[in-house]
């Protein structure tokens, strides 16, 4: 579970109490700006989303109370949500989240096994896609997978006579999902990857020596008994980043296909569903209910990550 610097409670002398009060005032001033901004743009919006999810709201008239109707509609009437959005989101999030995460860990571990200079170069290569802004990612992969002879992949396949017609990678329901997965895995090595790499490099070498004296024999045992326990905190950070990244990455399908909804909803993720209802249909209450479902999904996945990697409360 989450453990932070322990705040030891003890009986305080008068002087200590005055001191703590002073600390409290100082802390108030130090924390005030962040506190206000955090409330305005993170806490209050989340609270509004939860509130709106119980209302009908079209941005023009005041919201009217709807009870659980939005959630009931979501569970019983939203065929697209159950047929397309939910399976797509889970498939996408599981492959890009845990999948990308495992790849990040393996890559970080491999990088730690080579010398410093090549390591820095390779780490930069692997991290580079995460530095690309959304606009760049979209343009890049649209250029590569474009469904006409100017798309690089199609041009090459046509040129080698492997196909007669360009393949509609981005406009067909059969292909859009795997292109989205490819693109997302391409940019999956982000902050979490760097955290794990730094963590592995910081493991005290004596730990390994001791473990070898104690009888571990190979690298696999080394990873299980030394590496993973030593970098657990970084791995938890990485896991949270991977989960948030996977659920937050809704833009990619729309950026690739150029339309919301994506072709036959084949690449529709939950964030697109929210945008669809919010900005295209102006059903804010319903969109908010879907948002709450999204936040719950992220929360459940993160809880799982804390279970796996968090330090047990003693």
């Amino acid at each position: 579970m989450i453990k932070t610097t322990p705040y030891v409670k003890q009986r305080k002398s008068y002087g200590d109490r005055v001191r703590t009060m002073g600390d409290g005032m100082h802390a108030l001033f130090l924390l005030l700006p962040y506190g206000i901004l955090f409330s305005m743009f993170i806490a209050i919006p989340t609270a509004i989303a939860i509130f709106l999810s119980f209302t009908y709201f079209d941005l023009v008239q005041m919201p009217t109370f709807a009870g659980l109707n939005n959630y009931i509609a979501l569970l019983t009437q939203d065929g697209i949500f159950f047929r397309n959005v939910l399976p797509n989101t889970l498939q996408f999030a599981i492959i890009v989240g845990p999948g990308g995460y495992v790849i990040s860990f393996i890559m970080a571990w491999i990088l730690a096994q080579i010398q410093k200079v090549p390591r820095t170069v390779f780490a930069l290569c692997l991290f580079m896609p995460s530095l690309a802004p959304g606009v760049f990612v979209g343009t890049l992969w649209v250029t590569i997978f474009s469904g006409n002879q100017y798309g690089f992949v199609n041009a090459m396949l046509l040129n080698w006579d492997l196909i007669d017609q360009p393949i509609q990678f981005l406009q067909s329901a059969d292909h859009i999902m795997w292109v989205m997965l490819l693109v997302s895995l391409w940019s999956a090595m982000g902050l979490g990857f760097l955290a794990m790499l730094a963590g592995i490099l910081n493991i005290n070498e004596e730990l390994y020596e001791a473990a070898y004296i104690d009888g571990i024999r190979n690298r696999f045992q080394e990873i299980i008994y030394i590496t993973i326990p030593s970098v657990k905190p970084q791995m938890l950070f990485g896991a949270v980043m991977a989960i948030v990244g996977a659920f937050n990455a809704g833009g990619i399908g729309v950026a690739l296909s150029g339309a919301n909804p994506t072709p036959q909803y084949a690449g529709q993720l939950i964030t697109n569903h929210i945008e669809d209802f919010a900005f295209i249909r102006y059903e804010m209450g319903y969109a908010a209910a879907v948002s709450v479902v999204l936040l719950c999904m992220v929360w459940v996945f993160s809880k799982l990550a804390y279970k796996f990697f968090g330090e047990r409360e003693s």
Partner: protein
Amino acid sequence: MLNSGFQGTKINPSRFHRSQLKFYLILIPISLFMVLPVVFIVSQAFKPIDELFRFPPTFIVERPTLANFRHIMRVASGTGVPMSRFLVNTVIVTAVTCFLTIIITAMTAYGLSKKKFKIKNGLLKLNQAALMFVPAAVGIPRYLVIVGSGLNNNFLAHIIPFLAMPVGLFLVKQFVDQVPDELIEAARMDGAGEIKVMWRIVFPLIKPALATVTILTFQAVWGAMESSTMFVEDDTLRTFAFYLGNLAIGGNPVMAGVGAAAGVIMFVPNLVIFIAMQSRVMSTMSHSGIK
């Protein structure tokens, strides 16, 4: 070293050993997969129009030209706002946001790490929970807050929503934890006030973490289109990313080269800043663990 078996499994080895070859065999193809698309799009950005439409396409540009970049400099937005206006907007927004984020994050991290007060643990947990925050889920409520606080169609709408960054605060707070309390006590004994302690003792010691926050903020703000599309209606208040993003979208083949050039302009600053600060980022990330 203890025995020959151990030598091979060293982390962070100082010399090359044959046993490392297998790692290169994995790293090289994956790195190519990561880098080649970028090489291709950069090369695309320098292609003249006839080469963009050549069949079969060239991977590396044969006759590089700056025409696509010149096109970006020359054209103006639909409402006749020149490119330079967007660029100036973005430079101001990025500089101000980075500066304010550093100050606010460092202050807050110092307060949360070194001060003792009742709800401290609760606040730390709250910020840790906010690491899971998915901005995409609350687009509408954020918009309502912006409108409610009168920030819409205001230049500040590009800056203020980005100042509170839970990940940044988390990383910096972990770093401030490493600053020994004795150092701060000693400075107090010498009569240093709160501001002096922060400025002279804490800030210099947490520079790597602040550099990391700068990069994260820069990346978030420099490439942000959300604030321009949602919070601002006046074209003269919009940013460079918005302008370039609109050039890049559309899949119009004639614009392919221009779109690629726009992407490259967005990408290069991120890359340069990261390379310049990478060792600081790595030292921050080694303290990133959640316990």
